[in-house]
């Protein structure tokens, strides 16, 4: 079993993500440059956080046209588990793999703090070890993290159970306090908070176990838990 962590110019959470998968959860993990082909033998794809292309034009939009994205779209159709975190979430949205948009936070500031999110869908490859409504202490760090969708899209997200995480407190003005969503098939998940910065007790001052279950959920999905 192997995870590909895709690296774009300006990604800066790729090494952290690689470390958590490989060193903490002992899963074979490979960093893949965005112009390279995806390795043949991968079982999951992660788009890490950062500032791809310096957030030029709009966060994630230029990376969404990278060569690797067309391959990722094919893997998404094949129901491969795909996780986008922070800028990775923005890229998935801009690539059309997830609905909605990520706008500047209402505070207009880059926010970097601990918060809590609530599990609203525990039937995705990244949440199946979590309980419904379980709270996850987790780090957030973004400037364009305010999830927005129009009324019709929000209605569909609710109807199809595509809201995966909500914030326990109002943090950035996101529609319905959404922190993470999935596609209709539930194999593509995007979230603004950073589980890779929250899954070890040495760096999580609150409780690292719930965030670690996001990774353990993938292990469970891949049959290696």
């Amino acid at each position: 079993m192997k995870v590909a962590v895709v690296v774009f110019p300006g990604s800066n959470c790729d090494r952290d993500m690689h470390y958590v998968f490989s060193d903490v959860f002992k899963l074979k993990t490979e960093l893949v440059w965005h112009t390279d082909e995806l390795p043949k033998n991968i079982d999951a794809i992660v788009l890490p956080g950062g500032f791809s292309y310096g957030d030029r034009l709009r966060a994630g939009v230029i990376a969404a046209h990278s060569p690797v994205i067309s391959e990722i779209k094919k893997m998404a159709e094949k129901r491969m588990p795909i996780l986008g975190v922070c800028n990775g979430f923005q890229i998935l949205v801009e690539a059309g793999l997830l609905p909605g948009a990520l706008l500047k936070n209402t505070s207009l500031t880059f926010m970097c703090k601990w918060t809590e999110i609530i599990v609203k869908n525990n039937k995705t490859p990244f949440t199946n070890k979590l309980k419904l409504n379980q709270r996850i202490p987790i780090a957030i760090a973004n400037g364009e993290g305010r999830y927005y969708a129009d009324k019709e899209t929000l209605k569909l997200l609710k109807k199809n159970n595509q809201i995966v995480f909500t914030y326990a407190e109002e943090v950035n003005g996101a529609s319905l306090d959404i922190a993470g969503i999935c596609n209709k098939q539930r194999n593509v998940v995007g979230m603004m908070p950073h589980p890779e910065r929250s899954a070890e007790s040495i760096i999580n001052p609150k409780n690292s176990k719930p965030a670690s279950l996001i990774f353990e959920s993938l292990l469970n999905t891949l049959g290696v838990a």
């Binding site: 034009l57 709009r58 939009v61 969404a64 046209h65 801009e94 909605g100 948009a101 706008l103 500047k104 936070n105 209402t106 505070s107 207009l108 927005y148 969708a149 129009d150 899209t153 003005g173």
Partner: protein, 86 residues
Amino acid sequence: MPSFKVDVIIENKPEISDPEGDTILNDLILKKRDTPVKKVRSAKMLKFEVEAKNQKLAEKIVMELCNEFRIYNPLVSKVSVESFDA
């Protein structure tokens, strides 16, 4: 082939909140003095220079690029173009 300047203005749709415009209005303009200004909306402008047979075609080329590369996000933004002789 003639050249044209095509300005692309991208702004949030009216129903999308614009904290940057609100901040400029509330924390700058309205704080300093009485003003007839009632609203400020922020926007982004991209300035293209395009070779095309005519001005209309130059605008069409730019609009097609905007749509193809998602220069603006149609869910939250609206776009307008203004063109001039280069």
